[in-house]
Amino acid sequence: MTEQHNGSIIPIEIGALLPETDALRSAGWRLVQVLCVGSADGAELSYSFGLDLEMRSLRVTVPAETPLPSVTAIYPGAFLYENEIRDLFGVRIERIAGDWEGKVYDVAMGKLFSKVSIKAISSEDPGAATGGAASMGGAL
């Protein structure tokens, strides 16, 4: 039973993410979730897909400061996951269709889930959550 719940986890390169995702979408898989785990030198993202009861996850390891393409062009529903991951983990996900510009949770302190040391991310900080309940800009 555990097997069925876990599905298969396939490690892939960042460059292969969009083609692989696109292939899954064409084969009729649905996006189940995007999961992020922070690590000392970046983050590890798992994109899980489901087809009936089967689950398959693509896993990419993203070093800190490395841009990651958004999958929202293939699965538009992914925007919430990607915004959340960018805000809480500081992963540089680029070109999200439906960019909330760091206002998902609007937490006071920003990037709490990130395990990358503060110095490594301080240089460029587009998605920092700085408070203020402004409504989200950008298109959905």
């Binding site: 069925q4 785990v37 009861l53 529903g77 269709a97 998902v104 949770y105 709490l112 298109a139």
Partner: protein, 379 residues
């Protein structure tokens, strides 16, 4: 660059024209009469027509996923239960299932059956709660009161068997913490039979009332393809004609007990209401079967030792849809990462899609038939 790559990139850069025309923006929430929870939308309107909705969340974000680093893995169940007070048992149990699969710990049969019983009890109470709130939003006060009165019968059973009304507190790693006797269960089944009759009557009132039907039919239509592509789950997906119910995975005792996936095809608010009404009926039947077949024996096994290094997923079907838990351990008593992808989180894109093109007056109805749970979404 391959052709496929290019297509993907072009789509990512496609302009979104909807938002440059300068529509009227109406803020909806956070304190509003539709739901007890704070939920905020910026509704973009052209006259009465909703062009789009931008959700804003974060009012009840607590950050409880990070708390897992500070708590013992066996104690964290208490926090997991409080992800949401409506599906509390299932949250606690989902966390336990994930940890148990990490530990490789099979739980006793009686515990599996009791978990199934409580899951279904929770589904009934959640759907009745939904029915009441939906009736309230439609201005059908008497149905609201009647649904909540019936719900109390269900909560009495919860209190008698699990010890709590909304936070059951009975899921633990390795099984369950309460063991209601067979007599208690038989008595509960009798009480539930009463509730079942009542619910049948209420669903009939809800689904056949001409005003309700006017308000729900053809409103907030979500096509099967859109629902699937946007990752919708639960009644939202099933009302659009896709039969996916995570209970088919056969966790707890669903494998033995069996059930039928409820599907409707219209994809409108009415279809979602019908799906829930039929699910309540089925939940009662499942509880009957569980109590008839429940084996004797212990209800828990001790969870000894540290969780080994590794990771594990668990998937369950909550009243609002499929939920996915993830745990990762680094070999200490504190897990390294816990994550829950809750059904409403997955339903938000589809909810926004269902609202697009509807009229302003229908927004509360659409929001309600999706039955969002904000405290799940934000955790």
């Amino acid at each position: 660059m391959s052709g496929q790559d290019k297509r993907v990139q072009d789509a990512a850069h496609a302009p979104r024209e909807d938002f440059v025309k300068g529509p009227t923006v109406i803020p909806f929430g956070p304190q509003h009469p539709v739901l007890p929870e704070p939920l905020h939308f910026d509704l973009l309107l052209e006259d009465e027509k909703v062009l789009g909705a931008i959700p804003q969340i974060g009012y009840i974000h607590r950050g409880l996923e990070l708390l897992v680093e500070k708590r013992d893995f066996a104690d964290y169940v208490h926090v997991a239960e409080r992800i949401c007070g409506i599906c509390s048992f299932m949250h606690g149990m989902g966390y336990c299932e994930a940890v148990e699969s990490l530990l490789g710990l099979p739980i006793p049969d009686r515990a599996r059956y009791l978990r199934t019983f409580w899951c279904e009890l929770e589904r009934v109470h959640s759907h009745l709660l939904w029915m009441g709130l939906a009736a309230d939003a439609l201005g059908f006060e008497s149905l609201f009161m009647a649904a909540w009165r019936t719900r109390e019968l269900v909560l009495d059973v919860a209190e008698e068997t699990a010890g709590g009304r909304v936070i059951f507190g009975s899921a633990i790693v390795g099984g369950v913490s309460k063991d209601p006797s067979d007599e208690t269960l038989a008595r509960c089944i009798k009480a539930l039979a009463l509730a079942r009759e009542e619910v049948k009557r209420l669903s009939m009132v809800m689904l056949q009332n001409i005003t309700v039907r006017h308000r729900l039919e053809g409103v907030g239509v979500l096509s099967a393809d859109a629902a699937y592509a946007l990752g919708a789950v639960g009644p939202m997906l099933r009302a659009s004609g896709r039969a996916y119910d995570a209970r088919s995975l056969g966790y707890a005792a669903y494998g033995e007990i069996g059930f039928e996936t409820v599907v409707e095809t219209a994809g409108d608010c009415m279809a979602r209401a019908i799906v829930r009404a039929r699910e309540i009926e089925q939940s009662f039947a499942i509880m009957d079967k569980v109590v008839a077949a429940i084996p004797a024996g212990p209800v828990s096994v001790p969870a000894k030792g540290m969780p080994p290094k590794g990771e594990s997923f668990a998937r369950l079907e909550q009243p609002r849809g499929e939920v996915v838990y993830y745990v990762r351990s680094n070999g200490t008593r504190n897990l390294e990462r816990f994550r829950v992808r809750t059904p409403t989180f997955a339903n938000v894109p589809a909810m926004v899609e269902a609202m697009r093109g509807s009229s302003l007056a229908d927004v509360p109805t659409i929001v309600l038939t999706i039955d969002p749970c904000i405290s799940c979404t934000e955790r």
